[in-house]
């Protein structure tokens, strides 16, 4: 009972400051399954509104797929609800190992270990095999979970300018005396939707005897011709030393993640990664669902093909409407508004039009780079995309930004 008025006051002032800075996060309650059409209660207490979801990571539309749900039910019936143990005591079932083998085959690696989430995989992996004699060199835009993992690791850390191979090479030269060098990148960058230059990175890593780490959370299941990920797209399948990915996005969307890669590194994670050692792993019901996801993906590429087609249709529609997009060819399509307040208002107006898409601004993205990040799904049909395009045109017209250049929007709204 040490929660004094003094402490309460400190925290209340901090929360007020967050609210005043316009970065206070409020949840919107969804009263339906996750899909392209959802029913949302927002603000809290208001009546339900049916909207089109343009901001989920449900890239393949598998979050509520009937076969996945059925498999999860079977898993619940046959393997129970929970394990009440960490993996190495009595928390490993046959299906955990089965999933690890499936992931290994899918990603083209040597071995895999599951984690409760990809956040846990990223926070645990570096510390498990690196020491103060080593160096981590990361792209400056990697995901926050990787940054946390690097902070927890005693190896020294350095960064290179986003996707700048010349700068990366200079860093590899600078740190060439280190025992283990690991180059760290996202496969697809979640805020901009651009793809890492993995082919060039593999070449550089071979030249400088460095390992390559790729977080494939926004790629696994749909990037590349058969959806294996960015390494497939870049022609370096089988050449990545460490891949982390999530089952909380395209691959069923529930939860869980993994470290997949060189056998010895995976084994070091089993021996030393703290989120693996000190936390229960994925629940049997989720493992069963993800196993079914891999079955579905191995049958055909229909869903990732549809996603690719949808993303191209969406991107073309927004461009024709005169909106400014971040360049790219992934299902992450950021509509650039530059001004944070405009991004917030734009998102609220879209919601009024039945479109659920969120504004992102500093500190999530750089100052002056506020945007609405849209994410396309194979669960979207053309009529969803057309309705959303109509809403973007309408709201864009209201704020008089259609056909405007970046500078004109900045002149109108400021940074």
């Amino acid at each position: 009972m040490g929660y004094s008025g003094h402490i309460k006051g400190i925290l209340q002032r901090e929360l007020s400051a967050i609210e005043q800075a316009g970065i206070f996060k409020k949840e919107r309650f969804i009263h339906s399954v996750q899909s392209a059409d959802i029913e949302v209660e927002f603000p809290a207490g208001s009546s339900l509104k049916r909207v089109i979801n343009m901001c989920s990571n449900n890239y393949l539309g598998l979050s509520s797929h009937p076969e996945v749900i059925e498999a999860a039910h079977r898993g619940l019936d046959h393997r129970g609800y929970g394990m009440s143990s960490v993996r190495f005591i009595c928390g490993t079932q046959d299906i955990h190992r089965e999933l690890e083998q499936k992931v290994t085959e899918f990603l083209g690696t040597e071995d895999t270990v599951l984690f409760p989430s990809c956040m846990d995989a990223n926070t645990g992996v570096f510390e498990a095999f690196m020491t103060a004699e080593d160096v981590m060199i990361s792209d400056r835009l990697v995901h926050a979970s990787i940054v946390d993992g690097m902070r927890l690791c005693p190896a020294i850390h350095d960064t290179f300018k986003h996707s700048n191979m010349e700068h990366l090479e200079s860093k590899l030269e600078l740190h060439s005396d280190k025992r283990i060098k690991v180059v760290i990148t996202d496969g697809v960058f979640s805020m901009d939707g651009d793809t890492a230059r993995l082919d060039e990175m593999v070449t550089l890593c071979e030249k400088y005897d460095a390992l390559l780490f790729v977080d494939e959370s926004h790629s696994s299941g749909f990037i590349g011709k058969t959806g294996r990920g960015t390494h497939e797209k870049c022609g370096v399948f089988g050449k990545i030393d460490i891949i982390t990915t999530t089952f909380g996005k395209a691959l069923g969307g529930a939860s869980g993640g993994c470290v997949s890669g060189r056998r010895e590194i995976v084994e070091m994670c089993r021996q030393k990664a703290r989120p693996y050692l000190f936390s229960n792993t994925m629940a049997p019901v989720v493992v069963s669902g993800v196993l079914k996801v891999f079955d579905i993906l191995s049958r055909s590429t229909e869903r990732r093909d549809k996603l690719e087609k949808n993303a191209a249709y969406w991107r073309k529609g927004l461009e024709e409407a005169g909106l400014i997009l971040q360049p790219g060819d992934t299902p992450i399509v950021p509509v650039m508004l530059f001004n944070a307040s405009l991004a917030q208002k734009f998102s609220i107006d879209l919601f009024g039009e039945g479109i659920y898409a969120i504004g992102f601004f500093f500190p999530v993205v750089a100052k002056g780079a506020a945007r609405i990040r849209t994410q396309i799904s194979a669960g979207h049909e053309t009529h969803h995309l057309d309705k959303a395009l109509e809403a973007f045109r309408k709201v864009g017209k209201k704020y008089d930004i259609l056909g405007k250049t970046k500078q004109e929007i900045i002149d109108q709204y400021g940074l």
Partner: protein, 82 residues
């Protein structure tokens, strides 16, 4: 001393600034203003050590000591004279 400061300033601009038009002075805060993050500080430290053939101990190469070009230059000068 001015040459040393200019060399450090040029390195910081090339290494850390995304906007080439952004102006930095010898007194501009680097770490506390978020221009150089604590992760990237290591390359600055290693650059200084290689360039000036010095070794900066971790307990002296702190975010405070690296916060402006003037402070960095003073630190480097101290170790060059040792």
């Amino acid at each position: 001393m001015e040459d040393l400061k200019t060399t450090i300033l040029n390195y910081v601009v090339d290494e850390y600034l995304d906007d080439p038009d952004e102006e930095l002075t010898f007194d501009s805060p680097l770490i506390s203003a978020g221009i150089v993050d604590s992760f990237s500080m290591v390359s600055l430290k290693r650059f200084l050590e290689n360039k000036y053939s010095i070794s900066l101990p971790d307990d002296r190469a702190t975010p405070e000591a690296f916060d402006t070009v003037n402070k960095i230059a003073a630190l480097v000068t101290e170790f060059m004279n040792k």
